[in-house]
Amino acid sequence: MSDHAVNVANLRKVFSRGGRGHDVVAVDDVSFSVARGSSLAIVGESGSGKTTCARIIAGLETATSGQLEINGQAQETGRLTHRKRGQRARDVQMVFQDPRASLDPMQTVGAALVEVLGQQTSLSRTERRARALELLDQVGLDERAAESLPRHMSGGQRQRVAIARALAADTDILILDEAVSALDVSVQAQVLRLLQELREIRQLTYVFVSHDLGVVRQISDMCVVMNQGRVVETGPTERVLDSPAEQYTRELISAVPGPGWVPRRRKVSVG
């Protein structure tokens, strides 16, 4: 039995453009593993393939080739049947950048959680109700939130609901895809704190997809730097950010504004 929650080997994803131009290799021979109870960040810019990797792990995207193991079990990376998708959802839950896209606008937050609990657990009706309130409490929301519609909540509250919903299935692997990127900075810090606390209390494993190196430093133990579908560098987050081995990683780090930062033009302009 492996002590890895997630293990990805030689993952490859090609998006075919059906004769309109070249196929796009979104993920190219990517391998990494995530130790149980740890937090791994996949870092990169747009087009790096970081989100595609995350979606393949969650079963929302097929892989062209490569292997995926979750909790030591080999997983299919092709198109999943309805039943298989349900099984995957019990192992892995995903939290997206925009929670509005994954919350039903007509359903109260409480009802949404009760529904997920109905699908993913064998709890009775009253138990589900109580569990929904418990989950909301864990993400820092009170009973009033249960009666609210998503549109009447702030962005930070909605993201807390999305996290509660991901936890409802009792999974211990969360894939967080730019989950704090759209939040105001003061609220982002609250949600990051919440994620850290939840990880400790519930022994969760995170795969944290982000373009934000400050957030990555805060939330992850290990990180994988990706560029144009390939892994550029992998290692403990502190080591990668403090002494990057690759030029690309150095460029990413030096582009982040901080105290005393001055923007510099990288390329020589031609013309």
Binding site: G155, S186, R193, H211, L241, P257, W261, R266, G271
Partner: protein, 331 residues
């Protein structure tokens, strides 16, 4: 060393008007901008930073009403006629938006877009030459072939550079940039910000940069203003930001942002950003402020000078007399 300001904003307020119902969005804003000076406006959502730019350019949506006064180069902006306003928009003040795709006609080429207004007074060839020169100035290689391309053929970063080239075509006195790099990757952001900064300094243009990123603002401006719930709460020199920040909200913003260089415990500000309409008689920040006392609930603090900055906080004198604690690490 202050002469005639380029821009004078006095008691600018913006309300949302619905029948007889008025909802405040921006409250009592006053500041000056000198020629060639760059001001950063920083705040979270609902703080009124974008509305400020719209109010100054008189491009507010119909339901929003501005009061107060805005003077540009001695001219009253609210009194400008339609044709004077058009001239000012096309040659006096340039706007760079967050999403270049929303601000460009997708079915016309980059060349058409760039030469459109120039063609009113230049020959086709002269207009094309001007456009090429601008594209090169923003670091775009193969400028000739770019002119033939359509917006969808360009990446976000390249398109934002085209927008900057377009904004600077008529050498405006003032650039307004509303989160110009928020939609871009961080390496592209650095490139685009460097270009804006370089061209602005070279050509002596003033700038108002709206952003949620304090460090980004501080890097390319002379002064930074912090907005909260439709009010200006702190303004001061950009190079002073990390050493001498005084308002508890600005301090909280700096402490909330996770650092790339060190893992520190985050100290989030509790609660969520307030809107101007939710603010009572007291300080806008009172509900989230760790230093709030009873007067903060009942009286709105005025913006007062303190240690070289302007700060709206009842406790600013106490804060300023305390040594800046460990959080104010400077570069």
């Amino acid at each position: 060393m202050t002469g005639q300001p380029l821009l004078e904003v006095r008691d600018l307020a913006v309300d949302h008007v619905d029948g007889n119902h008025r909802t405040p969005i921006l409250r009592g804003l006053s500041f000056d901008l000198q020629p060639a000076e760059a001001l950063g406006i920083v705040g979270e959502s609902g703080s009124g930073k974008s509305v400020t730019l719209q109010a100054i350019r008189r491009t507010l949506p119909r339901a929003l009403r501005a009061t107060g006064s805005i003077t540009v180069d001695g001219q009253d902006v609210f009194a400008m006629g339609a044709s004077r306003l058009r001239t000012w928009h096309s040659s006096g003040v340039a706007m760079i938006h967050q999403d270049p795709r929303a601000a460009i006609n997708p079915v016309r080429t980059i060349g058409d877009f760039l030469t459109e207004t120039l063609r009113r007074r230049l020959s086709k060839n002269e207009a094309v030459q001007r456009a090429l020169k601008q594209l090169r100035a923003v670091g775009i290689a193969n400028a000739e072939s770019r002119l033939e391309q359509f917006p969808h053929e360009l990446s976000g970063g390249l398109l934002q550079r085209v927008m900057i080239a377009s904004a600077l075509l008529d050498e405006p006195d003032l650039i307004m940039a509303d989160e110009p790099t928020t939609a871009l990757d961080v390496t592209t952001q650095q490139e685009v910000m460097a270009i804006i900064d370089e061209l602005r300094r070279e050509r002596g243009m003033a700038m108002i940069l709206v952003t949620h990123d304090l460090d980004l603002a501080a890097a390319v401006t002379d002064r930074v203003a912090t907005f909260y719930a439709g009010s200006l709460v702190e303004m001061g020199e950009s190079n002073d930001l990390h050493r001498n920040v005084l308002h508890p909200y600005t301090r909280g913003l700096l402490d909330s942002r996770p650092s790339v260089t060190a893992r520190e415990e985050l100290r989030p500000i509790p609660g969520r950003p307030a809107r101007a309409s939710e603010v009572g008689p007291g300080c806008a920040f009172v509900a989230r402020c760790p230093l709030a006392i009873s007067v903060c609930e009942t009286h709105a603090p005025p913006l007062v000078p303190e240690s070289g900055r302007f700060v709206a906080c009842h406790r600013v004198a106490e804060i300023a007399s305390r040594p800046q604690h460990e959080t104010g690490a400077s570069a």
